[in-house]
């Protein structure tokens, strides 16, 4: 049961940790682009983690009630809402990151930084709310059982591995040369926004709120979702071995909104910015 605790907590923590690392890497890029000046502070990170954990706890306490709503698919509806909002805020972040491309998008830097901070807080709070509530559910069920200590220590180790992976991603992303770093961050942002949209579609299909669409492909034999690499790919970019066409469509649209943002043009097209 020890390993069970490791795996479950790791899966949940990993998604939130990778999301936070990605946002912090963007912050690093922004502050670096403003040579020497701090465009955005990081104090919001602590607050959003605390708020996220609090919300996750409140959600977890009300799990039964939420679960029974909408003829027992309340969890899907709530989680689909959380995923959609996450996708939306991630797209807003892509459009708000300051770049030289903002000709028709006049916002003074103070407002822009504030809006960007609000979006980043929202993304982190939603990620922790989503993943944290499941950890609380799992943890709550474990308490009082004989193997509680073993499972909970497994959970702590899982949390540790998750956080370390997030830290590794942060240093990998920020350690790259500036342009490459921005490309990697933007691409990951696009994939994450797409992933959130696709998850929302999956949850609504599971609840039968949107129509079934056939499976687009099956890559289970290439990369199993149950494997370690499969799990990591799931947490990072939402890899699924047999997605439906609607999921693929939502993923594509979510990602596209990020890839047509000014920051993408800075990353891939605008040479002047980098000379």
């Amino acid at each position: 049961m020890f390993i069970n605790g490791v795996v479950i907590v790791l899966q949940e923590i990993l998604e939130a940790a990778l999301m936070l690392s990605l946002l912090l890497s963007f912050l690093h890029y922004i502050n670096r682009a403003y040579a020497g000046q701090t465009y955005m502070r990081r104090t919001w990170v602590t607050y959003s983690i605390v708020i996220g954990v609090l919300f996750a706890w409140i959600y977890s306490v009300n799990f039964s009630r939420v679960s029974e709503a909408f003829d027992y698919v309340g969890l899907e509806i709530t989680n689909a809402t959380i995923h959609s909002l996450s996708s939306l805020f991630l797209i807003c972040i892509a459009w708000l990151v300051p770049s030289r491309e903002h000709a028709g998008f006049q916002l003074n830097s103070g407002h822009r930084a504030q809006l960007l901070t609000v979006c980043m807080i929202a993304v982190v709070v939603l990620a922790i709310l989503r993943e944290g509530s499941e950890i609380f559910q799992f943890g709550g069920g474990v308490l009082g059982r004989d193997e509680a200590t073993s499972i909970l220590s497994g959970g702590l180790i899982g949390a540790g591995i998750g956080v370390c992976t997030g830290v590794l991603l942060y240093y990998a992303l920020t350690g790259l040369p500036a342009r490459l770093s921005l490309r990697a961050c933007t691409l990951l942002l696009a994939l994450t926004a797409g992933n959130m949209a696709s998850q929302a579609v999956l949850l609504l299909t599971q609840a039968d709120w949107i129509s079934y669409s056939s499976t687009a492909w099956s890559s289970e034999s290439l990369l199993s979702e149950a494997s370690v690499v499969g799990q990591l790919a799931y947490a990072l970019i939402g890899y699924e071995s047999s997605p439906s066409w609607l999921q693929v469509g939502a993923y594509f649209i979510g990602g596209l909104f990020v890839l047509v943002s000014p920051i993408s043009r800075t990353a891939w097209v605008n040479k002047a910015h980098w000379d």
């Binding site: 799990f63 027992y72 799992f138 599971q206 039968d208």
Partner: protein, 114 residues
Amino acid sequence: MNKSKVRILLSQLFLCLILVTNSSYAAVPEIELRIRDHLFFPSTLEIPANQKVKIRIFNEDPTPEEFESFELNREKIIVGNGQAVVFIGPLEPGEYPFFGEFYPKTAQGVVVVK
């Protein structure tokens, strides 16, 4: 517009959204699955091919369980002493294993599509 008009408009919009998105007009066959002592009963669910099916899962244990299947692309927590609904399919004939993520050693099952 006053408040009540806005409210009526919003509720109408919401209703339209549900009508457009909700595809379950036709009766969807429902099957029951129970969780007891971290085991699934029955552990084999037989369902017809190319047909959407509603699985109502009753968790008779006091602890929560997560119904999960990579093959079915489904994942859902069922609270202790609670119930939940999961829609699956339409599916091609074949075997689709599922498990309880919180107790994967014992909670194992398979959906057989014929």
